[in-house]
């Protein structure tokens, strides 16, 4: 009987921790196409909001860590700094101008946005955009704690993403400074 309980516990563990440790090296076909920005809940015609899309990178610790690396290497930090914003809007707060959903952030990176956010279409492969999206969301605590990155090996300007408390996203129309 004890054996059975033990194996059941093991099975639960299996289910729980599969995704977190995955390292996906070969790029699967992109799951995100281009999405419209949803600025409001009011939509023309019938049908509700588009189905939210799951970002596979949201569940993989390796991907968020890669996202963190790319965030500084691709110089996202040049405008957004360590998430506190400056030239670009802050990413670690609860305010979102163009949406907080993974597909919104994806579009923001791929299409670019007015007032300075350049388009990275073709420049960053889809898999890496997904990693960046996951990382950007981890900056405001949107990801599970065991998936979000921990501190980096440089000067740390703020708490690590893993220890950032979760902010509930709010839509704002404030233009970026």
């Amino acid at each position: 009987m004890f054996k059975r309980i033990f194996f059941c516990a093991l099975l639960c563990l299996f289910v729980g921790s599969c995704k977190r440790e995955q390292r996906q090296f070969t790029t699967p076909p992109a799951t995100f196409k281009s999405y419209d920005v949803t600025m409001s809940d009011i939509r023309p015609g019938v049908g509700g909001l588009p189905q939210p899309v799951q970002n596979p990178s949201d569940q993989r610790a390796y991907d968020t860590s890669e996202g963190k690396r790319l965030f500084s290497q691709y110089n996202c930090s040049g405008c957004h700094f360590n998430g506190g914003g400056g030239i670009g809007p802050p990413l670690m707060d609860e305010k979102w101008i163009y949406g907080d959903r993974p597909e919104n952030i994806y579009s923001t990176i791929v299409e670019g946005r007015p007032n300075g956010m350049p388009s990275f279409r073709q420049k960053i492969p889809d898999a890496q955009v997904q990693q960046l999206v996951a990382y950007v969301r981890s900056m405001s605590g949107q990801l599970p704690k065991d998936v979000a990155p921990t501190r980096n090996d440089t000067m740390n300007a703020r708490r690590s993403e893993q220890r950032t408390e979760r902010k509930s996203p709010q839509q704002t129309t404030a233009p970026p400074q």
């Binding site: 090296f25 070969t26 290497q73 073709q122 492969p125 898999a127 090996d153």
Partner: protein
């Protein structure tokens, strides 16, 4: 089984591998006992000294062990009375033998220590007379960034995974860790030194004969530790100067249509995010500098020979060759890919 047979087998079993070791340890461009420079030469001498002395010690001890087994019996233990107080005379003799054996061990170790210390001084990096060419080497997951420093700023240039050095000139390496700890090791030229984040380690080496020597990262550094290699190419001074002269130049502008299209592909896709080509707008230093990539012998950290086919396959699907490396897969059309390869190969 008969006892003598057992002994013979033991002896053979012990000797055969030793002979194989002696015979098969010559040749190779990545071999510690095939030295091509004064440092590796010293180390190789030290190795052979220790190997020979240790082999002799081993054989002598094994002979002693086998000799101690020469009186055998099939009797059950009860038939032999245990000897709690063996004859004193005999014990004293044995004690003398053991003491002399230990003394010889100590003498041998002392000789080893002195030889090792003097060899150590010879290969030590803190030798002001040994500063010739200075190369800054930075280890990244999983490639080598090579920066030739010079008092004249226009002579400073950066390349990757392929180090050219002049023959007969001491070269000092300043070793830095870019991310995790790596270790720089070109066995034919010198011993290894670690590249540690937050520290600067130095190593000097010298090649006495021209040739290609392969080195490999020797400190486990993650997924592609196995394929983080580099080439050290030792060439005569004039040849080196010519190479260096070329290396300080900006990239060659594209001349054919295909090359021009290739350059456009480079700038409009993912390449430009990580790689730099001096003399163009591409200036990112995340991946290896490609200013003269066409002139390199190997790509992918000395893993693939630099041919058009390899380069095309590598760009399209690097993850198959080196799973986990930081270069993404690219969905380029065949025409774009060929143009890109044309352009990159033209960067001599």
């Amino acid at each position: 089984m008969s006892e003598t047979n057992t002994f013979r087998r033991v002896c053979l079993g012990l000797l055969a591998p030793a002979v194989v070791l002696c015979l098969s340890s010559c040749g190779g461009i990545q071999n510690a006992v095939n030295p091509a420079g004064p440092l590796a030469g010293k180390l190789s001498q030290l190795w052979w000294l220790m190997f020979v002395v240790c082999s002799i010690v081993f054989v002598l001890v094994m002979i002693a062990v086998l000799m101690s087994l020469r009186r055998r019996t099939g009797d059950s233990p009860d038939e032999i009375p245990p000897m709690v107080e063996p004859p004193l005379e005999e014990e004293r003799r044995r004690r003398n033998v053991v003491i002399s054996a230990v003394s010889i061990t100590i003498v041998i170790l002392f000789v080893f220590l002195i030889v090792s210390y003097s060899s150590g001084r010879a290969v030590s990096a803190n030798r002001p007379d040994k500063v010739g060419l200075v190369i800054e080497l930075t280890g990244h997951q999983w490639w080598w960034e090579v920066r030739y420093s010079d008092v004249d700023a226009s002579n400073i240039f950066t390349t990757a995974n392929e180090i050219h050095i002049p023959v007969g000139v001491p070269v000092t390496f300043s070793l830095r860790g870019g991310d995790v700890i790596h270790s720089f090791w070109v066995p034919n030229l010198a011993g290894k030194k670690d590249l540690i984040p937050g520290k600067i380690n130095t190593l000097w080496l010298q090649a006495d004969k021209p040739g290609v020597y392969r080195g490999q990262c020797a400190e486990y550094c993650g997924l592609q530790h196995a394929k983080m290699a580099l080439w050290v190419i030792a060439e005569p001074q004039e040849q080196f100067n010519a190479w260096r002269q070329n290396a300080t130049q900006s990239s060659i502008p594209p001349s054919t249509d295909s090359q021009k299209r290739g350059q456009q592909v480079f700038f409009s896709t993912t390449c430009v995010m990580c790689h730099a080509i001096n003399g163009t707008a591409a200036g990112s230093n995340i991946g290896p500098n490609l200013t003269h990539v066409g002139s390199r012998h190997m790509i992918a950290a000395a893993t693939l020979e630099n041919t058009r086919d390899h380069m095309a396959q590598w760009i399209r699907d690097s993850q198959t060759f080196k799973p986990g490396n930081k270069m993404p897969q690219n969905n380029l059309s065949d025409a774009d890919l060929q143009a890109l390869v044309d352009y990159l190969q033209s960067l001599k």
